[in-house]
C-alpha cells in the first residue's frame, strides 16, 4: 500500500480557509459573500462560462455506494455509437453549446479507452472545447486523449477521507484511494491542459474534505503551474441507488463553501451544475461561481431522444436528478437579468497546437467508431 502523499499534510493557507468554512465561523456569510463577489468581478468580470455534459455510456464496473450508475444498479445499459454521438452533438449545438463534458462510467469492455478516445475525436470535430469525466487513465492514455482534442478532465476524489472512501467504493478499480489522488497529476503529465477537482458533498465531513480539496488544488497548482484548474461543488441529491447522504450539506453551508473557495483561490474556476436549483444557481452566479452546466441530460442519449414516447420498457434513470431544468434560453435570460454575460465559447481549438487543427490520425480515430444503424 502506497503512502498518502505529503501534500495532504501541507497546512499552508488552510487556517484561513478553515476559519471561513467552519459552521461556527466568526465570519458572517454575508461578509464573505461581499468579498467573494468583489473578487469574482475583478478577476472574471460579469461572465459565466457555459457547458453541458454528454453521457456517452452508462456501463460501469464500479461499486460506488452513492451512484445511480454503479454496476449493481438495475438500470438499462448502453453506449452511444458514432451516429448517435453525432446526433447528440447536433442537438446540443442547436442549444448553442460548444463546450462539452463527455462522461462514461468506470472502464468496461463495452466502453473502454479506445471507445472513449473515438468519442473524443468525434466530439472535437464539432465542439470548441471537449473535456472528459470518465475513469482514471495512464499518462500515455491521457496523451492520446489530448492528441484527439481533449483539453480538460474532471476527476473528483469524492472524499479525501480514506476510510470513508474505501467503505463507499465497494469494488472495482476505483477502490484505490491513492491511485485516484494521483490521477489529475497523470493527466497533466499527459498534456491535458485543465483539471477539474471536487468532493461529493454529503459523503464525509465536509469541512475536512474541503480543506483537503484545497490542498490538492494548491499542490497541483504549485507543481503543474501552467495548468488550468476548476473546483466543483456537487452535492448529494436523492440517487436512484437510494443512498442518503451521511453528512448532509445545507444551502447555507454550500454557499459558504463557494464564497470561501473564491476568497482562498482567487484565480480558480468554480463550477456549479444543474444538480442545484434555479434559485440557488441564480443566487451564486454573481457571488463566486464562474462556470455552469446548462440544460443537462444525465441519461445516455438524452438530448436527441424522442421526448414523447419512451421506448424503453424500464425507464432509464440518469446518474443524478436534475434540479435546474430550465432551457438554455431561459437560463441565459436569467443570467442577463443579473447583468452577467453567458459565454458559450471560451476556448479556440487552434490553441490545442497541431492536434487542434487538421489531424489525419484523429480523423481516422473518429471514423472508426461504428454507427448504430
Amino acid at each position: 500500500m502506497r503512502a498518502v502523499p505529503e501534500w495532504l499534510a501541507d497546512d499552508r493557507g488552510t487556517a484561513a480557509l478553515g476559519a471561513m468554512l467552519s459552521p461556527t465561523s466568526s465570519h458572517s456569510l454575508e461578509a464573505l459573500a461581499a468579498e467573494s463577489r468583489a473578487m469574482t468581478l475583478r478577476r472574471f468580470g460579469r461572465t459565466m462560462t457555459l457547458y453541458a455534459p454528454l453521457y456517452l455510456s452508462n456501463y460501469c464496473s464500479s461499486g460506488c455506494a452513492y451512484c445511480g450508475f454503479a454496476s449493481d444498479r438495475k438500470t438499462p445499459r448502453h453506449r452511444l455509437e458514432a451516429d448517435e454521438i453525432r446526433r447528440e452533438l447536433a442537438a446540443m449545438k442547436k442549444l448553442g453549446i460548444s463546450d462539452i463534458l463527455l462522461l462514461t462510467g468506470e472502464r468496461t469492455a463495452a466502453a473502454d479507452f479506445d471507445y472513449l478516445q473515438r468519442g473524443v475525436a468525434i466530439a472535437a470535430e464539432e465542439m470548441q472545447r471537449v473535456s472528459v469525466e470518465a475513469f482514471p487513465m495512464s499518462v500515455s492514455e491521457y496523451k492520446a486523449l489530448a492528441d484527439c482534442g481533449c483539453t480538460g478532465i474532471t476527476i473528483y476524489q469524492e472524499t479525501y477521507n480514506q476510510e470513508r472512501y474505501e467503505a463507499l467504493h465497494r469494488w472495482g478499480p476505483k477502490k484505490d484511494f491513492i491511485d485516484r489522488l494521483e490521477t489529475p497529476a497523470r493527466a497533466l503529465d499527459g498534456g491535458i491542459k485543465t483539471v477539474g477537482l471536487g468532493v461529493l458533498l454529503g459523503l464525509s465531513d465536509p469541512v475536512e474534505d474541503a480543506l483537503n480539496l484545497y490542498r490538492h488544488v494548491r499542490h497541483l497548482g504549485r507543481t503543474w503551474w501552467r495548468a488550468g484548474m476548476s473546483v466543483s461543488f456537487p452535492r448529494m441529491r436523492p440517487q436512484t441507488g437510494g443512498y442518503e447522504p451521511t453528512f448532509p450539506v445545507d444551502n447555507q453551508l454550500l454557499a459558504r463553501f463557494i464564497v470561501a473557495f473564491r476568497i482562498a483561490l482567487p484565480d480558480t474556476e468554480l463550477v456549479l451544475s444543474t444538480r442545484e436549483s434555479a434559485t440557488f444557481r441564480d443566487g451564486m452566479a454573481g457571488l463566486g461561481i464562474t462556470r455552469m452546466s446548462v440544460e443537462s441530460k444525465t441519461t445516455v442519449g438524452g438530448y436527441s431522444e424522442n421526448k414523447e414516447g419512451d421506448e424503453c420498457e424500464e425507464k432509464e434513470r440518469g446518474q443524478f436528478e436534475i434540479s435546474d431544468d430550465r432551457t438554455t434560453k431561459e437560463f441565459c435570460a436569467a443570467l442577463r437579468r443579473q447583468n452577467i454575460e453567458p459565454i458559450f465559447k471560451n476556448w479556440e481549438p487552434a490553441y490545442n497546437g497541431p492536434s487542434g487543427t487538421i489531424n489525419p490520425e484523429r480523423k481516422a480515430k473518429a471514423d472508426t467508431l461504428p454507427n448504430k444503424s
Binding site: 499552508r12 493557507g13 487556517a15 484561513a16 476559519a19 471561513m20 466568526s26 465570519h27 458572517s28 456569510l29 454575508e30 461578509a31 464573505l32 459573500a33 461581499a34 468579498e35 463577489r37 494548491r218 497548482g221 504549485r222 507543481t223 503551474w225 444551502n251 447555507q252 454557499a255 436549483s277 434559485t279 440557488f280 441564480d282 443566487g283 454573481g286 457571488l287
Partner: protein, 258 residues
C-alpha cells in the same frame, strides 16, 4: 527544529547578510557577528596590491559557522555570470552562488533572460543556485523548474529602501513556490523584514539597511530579532482579518427563500 533548508544545507538563521557598502571591514565583520547570519554574500573583485585589506575571504572564513555565497555582480550576461561562478567556487569552496545579472548599472534591475540561462547552466553543474530576480511569479516557477534551490525576488530596487513595494507579486510567488522564497533588496527597516517573514518568506537578505545605518552592529541585531519574530509569527499563524463591510442589500438573502 525550524531551519532554512537550501539544497542539502540547513541554517538556523534566516537573515542573510550582504557585505557591501560598509565603511570598513571591521565594521562589517562586527555586523555579521551581531546579526548571527550564517550565509554571507561576497563579490569578486580584482586583486589590488595597494588595498590588501579589501580581501574578505580571510577574515570571513576565520569566523565560525559562516558559509559564503558569492554573487555574480558585475556580470551583464549569462556567460559572464557562469564564468564568475566558476571562479567564485574555486575561491570559496562553497556550492552556493547568487546569480545576479544587471546589465544596466543605473537601476541595477536583474535581466530575467540572462539570469534564467545562467541559473539553468549552473544548477546543472551542481551549484546551489540562488537567483536574484524581479518579483515575477512566472520567472520564479521557471527557475524552480531548472533546479534553483531558492528564488530571491526583490522587495524594491537595490539600495532604494522602498521596502516591500512588490508585496502583491511576492505573495503570489510565495503561494506558488515549491522552493524557499527569499526577499532580497529594498528593505530599509526591521519591521519590513518581519513583514516579509510573516508573509511566508523563508529568509531575507539585507545589506544597505545595515551597512549605512548609524550603528551597523546595532541595526544587524535589530534585523536578526525582527526576522526571528516574523518567522515565529508566520509559524504561529496570524489571526484572520475579520470580514469587511456588509452590503446594504443582502447578497445571500435568496438562501432564505429555498
Amino acid at each position: 527544529m525550524d531551519v532554512l533548508q537550501l539544497g542539502s544545507y540547513t541554517f538556523s538563521s534566516r537573515l542573510i547578510l550582504g557585505t557591501g557598502k560598509f565603511s570598513n571591514s571591521k565594521v562589517m565583520l562586527d555586523a555579521v557577528r551581531a546579526s548571527g547570519a550564517q550565509l554571507v554574500t561576497v563579490a569578486l573583485r580584482r586583486f589590488n596590491r595597494e588595498q590588501l585589506e579589501d580581501d574578505l575571504f580571510g577574515p570571513l572564513s576565520a569566523m565560525e559557522g559562516i558559509t559564503l555565497m558569492p554573487n555574480t555582480s558585475g556580470a551583464s550576461t549569462a556567460a559572464e555570470a557562469v564564468r564568475a561562478a566558476h571562479i567564485a567556487r574555486e575561491l570559496s569552496g562553497s556550492p552556493f552562488i547568487k546569480v545576479e545579472i544587471h546589465p544596466n548599472p543605473q537601476h541595477l534591475m536583474p535581466d530575467p533572460i540572462e539570469t534564467y540561462e545562467a541559473s539553468r547552466i549552473l544548477a546543472k553543474e551542481g551549484f546551489l543556485v540562488m537567483p536574484y530576480i524581479a518579483a515575477d511569479p512566472v520567472l520564479a516557477k521557471r527557475l524552480e523548474e531548472v533546479g534553483c534551490v531558492s528564488v530571491m525576488p526583490l522587495g524594491s530596487a537595490i539600495g532604494s529602501g522602498q521596502g516591500l513595494a512588490t508585496s502583491e507579486m511576492l505573495s503570489i510567488i510565495i503561494r506558488e513556490s515549491g522552493i524557499p522564497v527569499i526577499v532580497d533588496a529594498g528593505l530599509r527597516s526591521p519591521s519590513e523584514a518581519a513583514h516579509a517573514m510573516e508573509m511566508g518568506c523563508e529568509a531575507v537578505l539585507v545589506n544597505s539597511a545595515i551597512a549605512v545605518a548609524g550603528d551597523p552592529q546595532e541595526m544587524a541585531e535589530a534585523f536578526a530579532e525582527a526576522v526571528a519574530a516574523g518567522r515565529k509569527a508566520f509559524r504561529a499563524g496570524l489571526m484572520q482579518k475579520s470580514g469587511s463591510a456588509v452590503a446594504t442589500s443582502p447578497l445571500t438573502s435568496f438562501l432564505g427563500t429555498l
